[in-house]
């Protein structure tokens, strides 16, 4: 086993450092852009574009080490194709929302797809990062090894940081093998019954790596050895989807091209305790959920309704897609933080971006 040969790509570190330094000196805000596929997510940023697309290339990949390192502007699609050629994958199954999505944008957005329910969030797979801080420093945290407790775990802190702490020049991720076999089942079931079924299945250790409920229909994905799958399939019940239909279904959930999402405006994302009946509180045709009920989507409802659900069920809500991403909405899209926690966010932001020029306001106003 050894490193896989990959094309060298392009290293724009020097030019990026130059730009950030100049912006820092001039106190000019920058909007960090990979493929701009997730520009709808978070609050709008007013600033000059700092494009990462020209800074790309896989730097090291050894399938036997389960680690890949690539520059921030590397296309997510290229990374996934490379991994797939060696029977591996990004375990968190990130949505790309477009063919130009980059590795840096994927990690900065911190979004995960259906397999999140079993394999965990982006953060769990970040092993290291090279970061361009807001004052032009290039900092390296973590590395390419699974176990590393030297220094604070800054690289994991960067997962989901929306670029407010720095520009991801390079990221090292842990990867996993693709499953030996997979089965997708579809059955008609009410929301609360589905949540109960999924909760019981997870508690029994069934190899459940995806669940999606919408309009009275539940899809469940199981992964494992073919013989093992044959044993556990009856525990979920319903109809087996053929391979291509199953792949298309999970792709449409992950990329939000499923009919539920294409008609959803505005789209709220609720993170709820898996047992919460929150999903069932509302009119069924406005709800879809994933992750056994822990990620609930709500479509076309008012903020007051959302607040009621999260107050009742616990958890928090994100305004995932606004009515019109271009209409310059300036309200908060993420759940408000308690004052002491917001103060801590500001202090941490200052450590990495003292001039406050990187994606200002993307996460919260004045951050």
């Amino acid at each position: 086993m050894a490193l896989i040969d990959t094309p060298p790509g392009q290293d724009h570190t020097d030019a990026l450092v130059e730009r950030v330094r100049a912006a820092s000196n001039a106190k000019m805000p920058l909007r960090i852009v990979g493929g701009d596929t997730k520009c709808f997510y978070g609050r709008p940023v007013a600033g000059e574009t700092l494009a990462l697309a020209g800074h790309y290339g896989v730097l090291s990949y050894d399938p036997a080490e389960l680690v890949i390192t690539a520059r921030g502007g590397t296309l997510l699609g290229e990374i996934e194709a490379l991994l797939a050629r060696h029977g591996q994958r990004l375990p968190f199954e990130p949505p790309s929302f477009g063919s130009l999505a980059t590795l840096g944008g994927t990690v900065a957005a911190g979004l995960a797809g259906p397999s999140r329910v079993a394999l965990g969030p982006v953060r769990d797979y970040v092993l290291g990062a090279r970061l361009l801080a807001g004052d032009g420093r290039v900092l390296k945290f973590g590395g390419e090894v699974m176990k590393n407790v030297a220094g604070y775990d800054v690289s994991r802190l960067l997962a989901g940081s929306l670029g407010i702490l720095g520009v991801l020049l390079e990221v090292s991720l842990k990867v996993l093998p693709v499953a030996h076999g997979t089965r997708t089942l579809r059955r008609s079931i009410a929301a609360q019954d589905a949540i109960d079924l999924l909760g019981a299945a997870a508690q029994r250790g069934l190899p459940l790596t995806g669940s999606f409920w919408s309009t009275g229909e539940l899809h469940v994905r199981l992964e494992g050895s073919p013989s093992g799958l044959d044993e556990v399939v009856p525990a979920i019940g319903g109809d087996l989807l053929d391979e291509s239909a199953a792949a298309a279904l999970w792709h449409s959930v992950r990329e939000q091209t499923h009919a539920y999402f294409t008609s959803a405006h505005p789209l709220w994302r609720l993170s709820l305790p898996a047992t919460a009946a929150g999903a069932a509180l509302l009119h069924a045709d406005r709800v879809a959920f994933e992750w056994n009920g822990a990620q609930v989507w709500l479509n076309g409802v008012e903020r007051q309704t959302i607040d009621l659900v999260t107050r009742t069920a616990g958890g928090h809500a994100t305004l995932f897609r606004r009515e019109d991403a271009k209409d310059g909405v300036t309200g908060e899209v993420f759940a408000p933080l308690p004052a002491p926690l917001l103060d801590l966010h500001r202090a941490v932001k200052r450590v990495f971006d003292p001039a406050g020029i990187l994606n200002p306001g993307r996460m919260y106003a004045d951050l």
């Binding site: 090894v145 030297a150 802190l157």
Partner: protein, 484 residues
């Protein structure tokens, strides 16, 4: 040093008998499991509630008195070593399991609860807490969070950071912060990731919500022998590249095999140059499938023998040698140093060759045990502190090993933490810009710099000194605990 009388009164009224201030009472807390470093604390606080913790840190903050949090004191890097003029905040009496909910797959516990107690509380529901550091019968969950503790099942189940959903953290100002959430998703920055493994420098963890997993229905263990270390390392890579993620994947070299066999009579082949223990768990059909494929791969990769444990008894016997490797090696010499580097696995044969060469240069023997799945190497350097110059030689040898790990793209500590022990080696891993960022990050959480000062991150001035773990006579505190 003299403790401020006002502070003493204030703390006394908060804690009553939970405040220790006499040298006789305090001396018991002079060190953690890194016994080479000792410093009797001036004050020891044993709070029984979160409110008391808040009152204590607020008082200390007002008086500018440093605070060092401590769990069970089983840490191997001196993270809980008291600091001069400081207060030792012992959290072992915050030991309540607040909630176990199998349906939501979580447990909520106070920091002083032991690691194993969480799994014991979950067992009636068929669940457990995955991270299993070797000291799990004694080490506390709060300490696990501080150190981001690992164990032998990290490749599949991750470290503490992968299994903690939320914590409640008391800042040095006494503010109570909730980080993370029951779902693991949280608005804002992922500050929980920075707090886990922060060695008590950012805040005091007063509550931890951990993820519980269903107990695997089947576990199988396979033992493979090799006549060449490099071939064994190569075989590990082949198993993983074939898509098998074992629950545990442990390697030992010839000196470690011989020591373990002599100590535990576990049936290891003494002519082997390397031994691999490969544990697979999960659903019965999946386990059968994987153990069969792993066996075929290891045989094809040149294993001289491959054996699958017939039953739980044989499995435990096979594990016993590996799990007693530290005390076993400890019998070979009066003292040993345990190093904790991690390297990309493809460099294993090369780094082991370097360690062998260094062993000749420093004229000290070394045995290697290795969490092969995640590249975490524990070289055990044998020496006799009673012989002139051997301790210093062993320290230089250890530092050279860590340098080799860093040069191979690895790290100076995979799971034991930096504490006071690896402040020197940290300097070879990080540049001054990163170290300054770490210090700045600490001050963002703890502007007064009073939480566990001087640990985990070296000052730039300090970056000349190197240290390593010294164990005299093979005796660690908690010597009944297995160390692997």
């Amino acid at each position: 040093m003299a403790v401020d009388a006002g502070l003493l009164r204030e703390l006394g009224s908060v804690l009553g008998p939970g405040l220790l201030s006499t040298p006789e009472a305090c001396v018991a807390y002079e060190c953690d499991a890194l016994t080479a470093h000792r410093h009797p604390p001036d004050l020891v606080a044993l709070p029984t509630s979160v409110e008391q913790v808040q009152q204590i840190v607020r008082a200390c903050h007002r008086h500018s008195v440093p605070v060092v949090a401590r769990g069970s004191g089983t840490g191997l890097s001196g993270g809980a070593l008291p600091v001069a003029g400081g207060l030792l905040l012992v959290l072992s009496r915050l030991d309540e399991i607040l909630e176990v909910d199998p349906r939501r797959g979580l447990a909520r516990v106070q920091p002083g609860v032991t690691n194993l107690a969480v799994s014991e509380a979950a067992a009636p529901y068929g669940m457990y807490y995955a991270p299993d550091p070797s000291s799990q019968v004694a080490c506390s969950v709060g300490g696990n969070v501080a150190e981001n503790s690992g164990g032998v099942h990290c490749l599949k189940y991750g470290l503490t950071v992968h299994n903690v959903l939320a914590v409640k953290l008391v800042t040095m100002e006494g503010e109570l912060l909730a980080l993370g959430s029951e779902t693991g998703e949280t608005p804002g920055l992922n500050l929980l990731a920075a707090v886990i493994g922060s060695e008590g420098l950012l805040g005091v963890v007063v509550e931890v919500t951990v993820r519980l997993l269903p107990i695997p229905r089947r576990v199988e263990l396979l033992l493979a022998a090799f006549d060449d270390v490099g071939r064994c390392a190569e075989a590990v890579g082949q198993v993983i590249a074939a898509g098998i993620i074992p629950a545990g994947l442990e390697m030992m070299d010839a000196p470690a095999i011989k020591a373990a066999e002599a100590f535990a009579r576990c049936g290891y082949p003494l002519d082997a140059q390397a031994l691999l223990l490969c544990e697979v768990d999960g659903l019965p059909a999946d386990v059968d499938d994987e153990i069969g494929r792993a066996r075929a791969l290891l045989e094809a990769a040149g294993a001289t023998s491959v054996r699958v444990a017939r039953d739980a008894g044989e499995r435990h016997r096979m594990w016993s040698g590996r799990k007693s490797a530290f005390p076993a090696v400890g019998r070979l010499a009066p003292d040993y140093y345990c190093m904790d580097g991690t390297i990309p696995r493809r460099h294993l044969a090369d780094v082991l060759a370097q360690i062998a060469a260094l062993s000749a240069i420093y004229r000290l023997d070394v045995a290697n045990v290795f969490h092969a799945g995640d590249g975490n190497l524990h070289p055990l350097i044998l020496f006799d502190a009673g012989k002139d110059g051997e301790l210093e030689r062993a320290e230089r040898f250890g530092a050279a090993i860590l340098e080799a790990c860093v040069a191979a793209g690895g790290t100076v500590t995979g799971e034991h933490g930096v504490g006071v022990e690896k402040l020197g080696p940290m300097c070879s891993q990080f540049g001054s810009a990163e170290l300054e960022t770490f210090h700045a990050l600490k001050l963002a959480f703890d502007p007064a710099g009073l939480l566990n000062p001087g640990k985990a991150v070296p000052t730039l001035a300090r970056c000349a000194d190197y240290g390593a773990l010294r164990v005299h006579g093979g005796q660690l505190p908690h010597s009944h605990l297995p160390r692997f």
